[in-house]
């Protein structure tokens, strides 16, 4: 492995903790929870890295950030170079340092993690990016020679942003179309301010604008322009669909349309994109709930619960039909939610919503569950306990069950092959679809996944588009049966 375990003295077993706002205080404001490392803390944490020759951490990173190199630069106090090193592989380090599930990726593989805490790669990545932004030394690379080719990118989430920045650096003309009034995808409308401050996303979008990408907001592709028009009339040579998985799922139980039942998408969009937590300074309203129940246990559920707390809720229940061990959310988020006072109601499933007689939510009837035989996924299947129904008084309910593919654009593309779940079929290495010149990647191909995977897809697609623009080669028979 090329590591020197004997160097691992006691001091290096625990990582430098990132200071954060106290739970009681932060549960009532929208400011970011962790404060970030000071330069001293960053250097100290960086010095725990063993600079492995064959670094396993790098393989755990979907975009293969040169982890030992950038960490060594931090150790040497060369913070700006550290950031440039990360940026060669990852255009959005300030975002990834904050929201990547590092514990399952880069940090899960770190050698130091075998005997203690793994090196805090995410925290260091965040530090380097924030340092660069703070010093105002964002480097704008020289513009390459223009190729005269034009690429349209649909959707400005992490997948679209990454692909756009890579393609513009290859000398193509790039236009990114976004349906909403602000670019950033889930980074602006979904992930809340206290986990990912919106100025960071604005900064990253500003950066790719400076590189020369034209960002067109308020452009609902499928309605304003179709993909065929972009390719045949507007002169685009290729098109990348990165529209995410933005269709909310509901529980499908009675009473789900009462006032006070929000999809997680709506609740988070009102709060984050529309800044409803600043109502009435901002015009968009949101119910200031007394008691809230969130259904689900992924990142989206945790975010919804924590936003509800910050809107002043006195009680926030997180209702999940399995047990804590099966929760899909990041461990850190579960921990944060608990610390802030979210109450977990486990092995419980909603049955129906009840109203006050005027269509306003009053309560939810739930049933207790127990774990039965394992299902196909290997997890023990929850089964209802007969006769265990009970009512919970609530005035806001938020089903946070994940997302589906939004058909708005897809139904204008009859020649684009979709899988059974409605997502686009695309070749994994290239993002090529069944339609010539059209590539796809991110959540619209994989279903709801992660920021870094969408970025990884954006990168691969940028490479494939470069090839396609040169050779005009299109063969998808290998993975799409005719």
């Amino acid at each position: 492995m090329g590591t020197e375990p004997e160097k691992q003295d006691k001091k290096t077993k625990t990582r430098v903790r990132m200071k954060e706002q106290e739970p009681a205080e932060r549960a009532r404001n929208f400011r970011e929870v962790p404060f970030g490392y000071t330069p001293e803390e960053a250097v100290e944490e960086a010095s725990r890295c063993l600079s492995c020759k064959n670094p396993p951490c790098r393989e755990g990173c979907p975009v293969e950030v040169e982890i030992p190199q950038f960490i060594r630069l931090i150790k040497e106090g060369n913070f700006l170079e550290a950031c440039y090193t990360i940026k060669q592989k990852n255009a959005l380090p300030a975002v990834c340092g904050r929201v990547c599930p590092q514990e399952n990726q880069c940090e899960a593989r770190c050698i130091v993690g075998k005997k203690g805490d793994p090196v805090a790669i995410g925290n260091l990545e965040r530090f380097a990016a924030d340092y660069e932004a703070e010093k105002g030394e964002v480097r704008i690379p020289e513009k390459p020679r223009a190729t005269g080719r034009k690429v349209a990118i649909i959707g400005s989430g992490p997948g679209g942003l990454t692909c756009a920045s890579d393609l513009i650096m290859s000398g193509h003309e790039v236009t990114m179309f976004e349906a909403l009034h602000k670019p950033g995808g889930v980074l602006v409308y979904g992930i809340p301010e206290f986990r990912l401050p919106k100025v960071i996303v604005e900064r990253e979008v500003g950066y790719i604008r400076k590189l020369g990408v034209e960002v067109v907001t308020n452009a609902v592709i499928g309605r304003l322009f179709t993909v065929d028009e972009l390719l045949n009339e507007k002169g685009y040579d290729a098109c990348f669909i990165a529209t995410g998985a933005g269709l909310p799922m509901f529980l499908g139980i009675p009473g789900e349309n009462f006032n006070g039942v929000y999809s997680a998408n709506e609740f988070l969009t009102r709060a984050n994109l529309m800044k409803a937590y600043l109502f009435p300074e901002y015009d968009t309203p949101i119910k200031r709930p007394g008691r809230v129940a969130v259904f689900g246990a992924g990142n989206v559920a945790m975010d919804s619960a924590r936003v509800a707390l910050r809107l002043g809720a006195e009680k926030v229940y997180l209702v999940y039909r399995r047990s804590e061990a099966e929760m899909p959310a990041r461990k850190a988020e579960i921990h944060h939610a608990k610390e802030e006072g979210v109450e977990f109601v486990l092995l419980t499933n909603p049955v129906r919503f009840l109203d006050d007689g005027n269509g306003n939510l009053r309560a939810v009837e739930c049933i207790r569950m127990e774990l039965g035989e394992p299902d196909e996924s290997g997890r023990r299947r929850p089964v209802p306990v007969e006769g265990s129904e009970f009512e919970m008084e609530i005035d806001v309910a938020i089903p946070a069950l994940g997302a589906k593919a939004n058909p708005l654009l897809l139904k204008t593309l009859p020649d684009l092959r979709l899988n059974r779940r409605g997502y686009i079929i695309a070749e994994e290495e290239t993002g090529m679809t069944s339609k010539r010149g059209v590539f796809a990647g991110g959540d619209i191909v994989t279903g709801a996944a992660t920021v870094i995977l969408a970025m990884g897809a954006g990168k691969k697609v940028a490479r494939a588009i470069n090839g396609y623009l040169k050779w005009k080669y299109w063969d998808v028979s290998g993975f799409i049966e005719q």
Binding site: A179, L180, H181, T217, N218, V220, R223, L224, F225, G246, L247, P248, F250, E256, N257, N259, G260, Y262, S263, N265, E266, T269, R270, M274, K275, F279, P280, E281, Y282, D283, T284, P285, K287, N358, G359, N360, N406, P407, L408
Partner: protein, 277 residues
């Protein structure tokens, strides 16, 4: 940024804007709407595309001042800009030669019914139109509606213009007299659409309504615009806004429209106070 090219006060509290939006105008069809946001702190509100001119690249929208955002919108003038205009959204109204049809527009609903009546007329239909408002000063576009209708009936609740009646009275007379009416289109306040549907149900005449639930994105992303049609939940912005009126749960629609009454009042009071002081 989208420039307001023309402003016209149509009645006491109803304003017309012609907006420079070349790309949207190119694609707009009867039944479509836009979502707009006036400025950075603004909310997103939907307004129907009441007319469009593909050559000049303009959209016409007609709005009633009911709360903060629409009042604020009403203070803008020719040459001013609206930060965001998104569209065209919603499915296109279904247009074909049905034979005899009735178009009913109530209050500000006269504006969205106009392009549909026009398209139906072009398609060869015999178009009866009924437009109604509380009182004369709230009526508008009588001339435009007359141009696209074979017969136009005007009603006001107080009789200050046209017949003193609600729109369902002449509608029922038409349905009785012309048993070959194939379709009724009704756009207006939810309560009006509900009673139009009650009327047409008796005569078994298909009725299309345009629902106005509270919206944010208008693209199917948030689900806030949920309505129930035939016992199924639909997203008004992408599955509609046109629906089969006989299947719509109007009571639910009206309850959901009231979701933010308190907040809307707060916003409006605050807005008026800011103007006053």
């Amino acid at each position: 940024m989208f420039e307001i090219l023309k402003k016209q006060e149509l009645s006491e509290n109803i304003t017309l804007f012609e907006i420079d939006a070349k790309d949207i105008a190119k694609k707009a069809e009867p039944g479509n709407f836009i979502v707009l946001r006036i400025h950075e702190e603004g909310e997103r509100i939907p307004l129907t595309i009441a007319d469009f001119d593909r050559e000049r690249g303009t959209l016409t929208t007609v709005f009633q001042k009911v709360g903060k955002t629409t009042h604020h919108l009403g203070t803008l003038n020719e040459g001013d800009f609206i930060s965001d205009v998104i569209g065209p959204l919603g499915i296109n109204s279904h247009i074909e030669n049905f034979g005899k049809v009735v178009c009913v527009g109530g209050g500000v609903g006269i504006a969205p019914v106009y392009p549909i009546a026009r398209a139906l007329k072009h398609a060869g239909n015999h178009v009866f139109s009924i437009i109604g408002a509380r009182t004369k000063s709230l009526l508008f576009w009588e001339d435009r509606m007359r141009q696209v209708s074979d017969e136009l009936i005007v009603t006001t609740d107080d009789g200050s213009c046209g017949r003193k009646a609600v729109v369902t009275i002449p509608l029922e007379e038409l349905l009785k007299e012309h048993t070959d009416i194939k379709l009724v289109i009704a756009i207006g306040p939810a309560i009006m659409m509900k009673f139009v549907c009650k009327t047409t149900e008796k005569y078994n005449v298909k009725t299309v309504v345009s629902l106005n639930s509270i919206m944010i994105d208008g693209t199917g992303m948030c689900g806030g615009c949920r309505v129930e049609v035939g016992g199924e939940t639909k997203f008004c912005c992408v599955d509609g806004p046109d629906f089969d009126g006989h299947k719509v749960d109007f009571d639910l629609l009206m309850e959901r429209q009231k979701m933010y009454l308190d907040e809307e009042r707060t916003a409006f009071e605050r807005y008026k106070a800011a103007l006053g002081g």
